[in-house]
Every structure is written in structure tokens, then in C-alpha cells.
Subunit: 408 residues, 2 copies
């Protein structure tokens, strides 16, 4: 059991997430795999498309038979039939012969290219004039051009987008080995917090963090169990966290915004089996009171009580963790380039995430910092994006070009 | 019944999507609303937080009692008790009095600001020295500062992100009026196409489009019904499309890549009740054979057979349609600025979507165009993003700065 009392930098926290290993693999029906992460390299079990295939409507030919053909000097070929769709054609082209073929059709034996129908004209009986010279392979998808048997097409850890689902379908993968969804147990704490279905009395507020954090976790592929609400009662909390270990890969505690309760959170985490404190405070704003610990392979995370802080902090640390637990690599931060509308001060040595509204001008995007304090949820609702002010900076200035990472 | 035979521009197609009205609203439990679109304006039913609330741990005061206080000249106040968490304090501050309060606690009557605990020191008995001058409202979240009763906080059409879920929880919205999910019926056609569970014979390929399009639709909030596979048989197709109208808000037909089958698709769409052809060919690459029609309020869409073309075309037209059917407005295209690694030719008057791989250099992102033909699915699997080459351009050149929209 080690304890760290100084603030960890964002990069240090991210590298400490490597304490947590990817979860086990499971086999899932293909149509339920979108957004999941591939658990193993996927190699083509066979050639794709598996046969030489026309990419146009036209005439299958031997390229040498149309060599030099052009409008004024057509090649005259004998059309010996139609290539059927969905079957191997019962045709073998001899010198001077051609066969009609549709897009997607299988080339007949002997053919090596296709002349588009636009470059053909009938010439009586079974004859056809082709007015385009063709190289072997033109307008043909070769039998292993999309994928050759044995080639690794998708690496382990690849997030499955619609196109990956398509590729797996093309190769007949009815079930796919993906990494299990992380199970996240979420607990809100605070003597003033009541369930969101209740009408709060004076001095009480409804539970916000459980619901917003659950939505964020689900968007990242996690299964969520709402562990409910706890008063700031150390022994009760300890018991509840202990029970959550049986279900969860990640235990999320939010709340405890007072300094005393934050210390209790650390004590509670450290009283779990095989526990280790990894982070007690991060050089991030908002989100400084962030706590990261582990109990064996299970991640224990303490988020700030203020909802805006909790959400920004969760985006910075929890989303990368959920990606890692699913065997993924961090994705590309996606957003828009923008010009900052006014200056924002920061402190050196701390990474600030500045909430901005985006508006479109003729010159491009303008990013307008949201001023609401982090205790207000309306401030984060107004924000379209986050702008990072890095550790080596004392702030960002009006007119500066920044990258605004979209909050989607 | 009108018919258009010329290619429509991408913007014309997008404006024709306005033929389709947002779907009905439904009431959904809050925790299932993430990613859905709000069906009506949401106004605060009550003040939020509902009471004046401390944002720090410290001492609740009347600002005038600590006016001018500083390290060398503290204000000496009588501490009359603790403000409890989660209840209205049974305290009314008189001149010269203070009360201990924690973050999130309700201010006692008479108090208008809070001095942070860091600026206090005990002075014997019930006395405390405060060494910080404070303005009224300092370290206080006022009762209606997050939201005043009656104020519209979220406009109809807003997509609900984790923060909107939080705001709705804060205001006790157990169920939320959102726009219904679009029901999309997907049909793949082609005599050469077999279900993906089957081993294709020579000349056959597995159905790819149904699965990749279904994944794309689901990611945009749609409910998908796989209507299966049809041979290129006009009467059978007509009957199936007719049946799909009973279930669907959108009928998606993909395949029919041969010119003849594309014409059949138009005929089939036009034989539906109250039909109108809106688009027969779009000035887009890939995706030129795109077909858009309607049967009453139902959208009929024909996508190209090549999977890469179908997916790019679906991103361009189907995703905006699904957003519109849910009452949403188009979101901000999200990606990264990048430098193109090599030149790409295009045709004036057409919008090209160029698939690119992204790689990171010290200068930023490089976008490397993927060369694979659109009949290959591997080309789209390799791509991280799309770069648009606009209608008024004959191409993009190596070294040009572009915006690469991520394929997520």
C-alpha cells in the first residue's frame, strides 16, 4: 500500500491507468458488435471476394483481343452469351470471343478484363464492336483483392465501426470475439442529496451525478449499475463499496465535495482488499480532488461532487480507462479549430479544460468561454466543446487559435 | 408524381429531406434518454438549486460584518453553530454572528456570503477571527442561479448528452418527452448476394450492406428491421417494399448496382401509394446512383450496391435524415485539421468524399488518401476520416490544408 499526496499531472494519471488490464473476451453476434472492441487480430479466413468480379456492366474480354481498339478502329468480337449473376458462368472465352456481364458478375474463364457497355455497339448476329483498349485487370476486382486468405485485416483492439461490421459480414463472421463491457458501479454521496424522483426539502438537492455519469459510461460501452445514494457515513460507505467490488470492474464514487469527506473516500478505498492508492489529487481544472485507487484488478475512482467538475474529470480519466478496459487504444480527439473570443487565465503546471460555446462566422468557428461556475450544471449544458489550456501555459488569449474538442 | 432525371447537388438533396417531418413524441424514462432528441422546449419547473448554497467549506457571514477584514486586522465574530447538510439551518445570523458551513450547505437566514475556512482562526470560546473581506454573494450559489423557474433551459430538438441528462435529473424529470426513434427497414438486393451466415458458391458474395448500414442506423438512434435479401425480381421487390411501408419510417434499398436494376428501383418506389420521386442521381462521389422518393410520409431511399459507396452516401444523406426525423438540427462536423499527403483529382460540379488515413507528425495530422476502389470494403476499413472536395474544385493538392471528418 503506497500513498501519494502531491498532485499528479494528467499524463501521469493516464499512465497509471495502465495498472488496469483489458477485460476477458466474449463472443457476441455480429449485429450487436458495433462500437465494441475486437479482442483478437482478425485474419481473412478465405479470399475476398473469392472470384474475379466485374466492377461495371459491359463485356468480359481477353485484353489482347481489344488491344488498340478505339472509336475509329473497333475490335469485332463474337458474343458467346451472358454471365449469370450469382453463379459461375458456363463459358470459356476463346480468342476473339466476349460475353456480356453485369456489375458484380463472375468473369468467365479466359477473360481478364471488362469493357464498359458504353464502349460497345451491336454489329449484327452475335457480333459486337468494342471501341476501347483495355489492360488485363481493368474493371475487375480480383479474387483476393479485397482480402487475401490469412492476411490480418483488423488488429486486436480495433473499435468496430459500420465498415468493420461490413468486413466481418463479408467474411461470414456470425459471432465475433470482443472484449467484455466494463461494469461500472456508481454511487453518489452527500447528506444533502436525495433521489431524483423526490421533491427536495430546503437544503436538499436531487442526485445529478449518478444519472449524468451513467449516461457518459454507457456512451463509452460500459454496463452501469446504479448503486444508489449514500449519506456521508464512513462505515456505511465502506460496506457499500465492499459490496460493489463483487459486481464491478470500476467503482465510481462522486460527491463528498467537502474536504473531510474526500479524505474519508481515500480511507475507504484503502480499506478494501489488495488496495493501493494511485492518485490523490490531479493537476487538472476542474477536477483537482480526483482520486484513483485499485483493489486488486478493480479500479476505484473518486470524482468531484460538482457535476461539471465530475463530468469533465470523467471525460479526462474515466473514458480512457473504459477504452483501456475494452482493449482499445485512445482515439483521435475530434473537434473543430476555433478562435478564442476572450482571454482565459490558467495556472502553470495545471491542465485546464475550458468549456466553450461554438458559433460559426465567415472566417470559421469562434469559441466563447462559458463563465458559469463549475457548481452549475447549466454551464456545461451551454457548452459545445472543451478547449485545453496546457500545463506550460498561464492562459489562453483572445484571438488565439485553439482546438475545440466537441462534447458529444 | 414528379420525376427528376438530372443529378441533384448534395445541398439540393439535403434541402429535399425537409419533405420529411419529425416523428411523434414519446415519453421515456430519463436514464434511457441519452442520445435522444428532446421533443419540446424544457423550462425549469422550479428554481435550481432552490436555496442559497455555499460553494466552499467555511463560515457563513453577513458581508458587512467582515468588511475590510485582513490578516493584520481580523473581524471577530461569534460562531453560533453549524449549518447541517441537507436541512434548513435553524439559525438566524444577527450582527456580529457567524455559523460554520460545508460545501453545498444551505445558508442560514441573514447570511449573504461565506468566508473560506482557510481564512479563519479560532479565538477562544465561541469566537472566531476571519481575515478576509467579502462581498455579498461571494462563495454562494444563489437559489435561482443555475436556473430560474420558467426559464427555457433546453430547446426542442436538443440532443441529450450526459450534461443534459444531469440537468433534467436536477429538476426531477423522471420521464422526458423525446422524439420517437426512426424505424428503418433495410433490404439488400442482388442475385449474387447470399445471407452472411452462408458459404457463398463461386459467383456469390455475402450480404455486407444490411449489416454495415444497420450498424450506422443504430448509431444514429434508429430502430432497424432487417427485411432480408431479395433477388433482382421486380414483382417480388415491389411486394416486399409495399410490406415494409407498414413498419417503416425509412425504407432502405441497397444493391441493384447494375444500371437496369437501378431503374427498377425507381419504378418500384413510384408504384407505392402517394409516391413522389425526389432525387434520381446525386452529384456526389461515391454515391452517384442515389435515389430518394417518398410514399406519403415515408422516406424511400436507394443506395448504391458497393458497400463503400453505400456507407459514404448514407453518411451524407441518411444520417441527416435520421437526425431530422428525430427533430434535431445538423450537428457540428467533427474531426481534425490535416495536411493532404498527395493530390486527388475530382470533377467540377460534384462533391467528392475522399477516404483518408490519418497519421500524426510533429507538425500535426497528415491525411493520406486511400486508393482502394469503392467496391472494396477494406478501403473503408483502412480509412480514419473523410475529406470533402467541394463542387467548385477540380481536386485537392498535395500539401493542402483540409478538414478530415472522423469516421467514428
Amino acid at each position: 500500500m503506497k500513498s501519494f499526496l502531491s498532485l499528479k499531472s494528467v499524463d501521469e494519471v493516464l499512465s497509471l491507468l495502465e495498472n488496469f488490464a483489458p477485460l476477458a473476451e466474449e463472443s457476441v453476434p455480429l449485429d450487436e458488435c458495433a462500437g465494441r472492441y475486437l479482442a483478437r487480430d482478425f485474419a481473412a479466413p478465405e479470399d475476398l471476394p473469392g472470384f474475379d468480379r466485374s466492377t461495371v456492366d459491359g463485356y468480359a474480354v481477353r485484353a489482347r483481343d481489344v488491344f488498340g481498339a478505339q472509336e475509329g478502329s473497333p475490335a469485332l468480337l463474337e458474343c458467346v452469351g451472358d454471365c449469370p449473376m450469382g453463379r459461375a458462368p458456363d463459358i470459356r472465352l476463346q480468342e476473339g470471343q466476349t460475353a456480356r456481364i453485369l456489375t458484380g458478375g463472375m468473369l468467365p474463364e479466359g477473360a481478364d478484363s471488362v469493357v464498359m457497355v458504353e464502349y460497345s455497339r451491336p454489329a449484327g448476329d452475335n457480333l459486337v464492336e468494342l471501341v476501347r483498349s483495355q489492360a488485363p485487370g481493368d474493371h475487375v476486382l480480383e479474387h483476393d483483392e479485397d482480402a487475401a486468405a490469412g492476411k490480418v485485416l483488423l488488429p486486436a483492439g480495433r473499435r468496430l465501426r459500420p465498415q468493420e461490421i461490413g468486413l466481418l459480414a463479408a467474411l461470414g463472421q456470425v459471432r465475433v470475439p470482443v472484449t467484455a463491457r466494463p461494469r461500472v458501479a456508481i454511487l453518489s454521496t452527500g447528506d444533502e442529496v436525495v433521489p431524483f424522483e423526490e421533491k427536495p426539502l430546503p437544503g436538499q438537492v436531487r442526485d445529478v451525478n449518478s444519472h449524468s455519469l451513467a449516461a457518459l459510461c454507457r456512451s463509452a460501452g460500459a454496463e452501469v449499475r446504479m448503486a444508489g445514494l449514500m449519506r456521508d457515513d464512513v462505515e456505511g460507505l465502506r460496506k457499500t463499496v465492499r459490496e460493489m467490488l463483487d459486481f464491478a470492474d470500476v467503482v465510481l464514487l462522486s460527491g463528498g465535495s467537502s474536504a473531510g469527506m474526500r479524505d474519508h473516500t481515500v480511507d475507504i478505498f484503502l480499506s478494501m482488499p489488495e488496495s493501493e492508492l494511485l492518485v490523490h489529487g490531479a493537476a487538472i481544472s476542474p477536477g483537482k480532488p480526483f482520486i484513483l485507487a485499485r483493489s486488486g484488478r478493480i479500479c476505484l475512482m473518486g470524482l468531484p461532487g460538482h457535476v461539471s467538475s465530475a463530468l469533465v474529470c470523467a471525460r479526462a480519466f474515466l473514458l480512457p480507462l473504459l477504452c483501456r478496459l475494452q482493449g482499445g487504444r485512445p482515439g483521435i480527439a475530434s473537434g473543430v479549430p476555433a478562435v478564442l473570443s476572450r482571454s482565459v487565465a490558467s495556472a502553470q503546471g495545471r491542465r485546464d479544460f475550458i468549456r466553450v460555446r461554438l458559433s460559426r462566422t465567415e472566417q470559421g468557428w469562434t469559441a466563447d468561454p462559458v463563465t458559469a461556475p463549475s457548481g452549475l450544471i447549466s454551464g456545461l449544458v451551454e457548452a459545445d466543446a472543451l478547449v485545453v489550456c496546457p500545463e506550460n501555459s498561464e492562459g489562453l488569449y483572445a484571438g488565439q487559435e485553439v482546438f475545440a474538442e466537441l462534447l458529444i
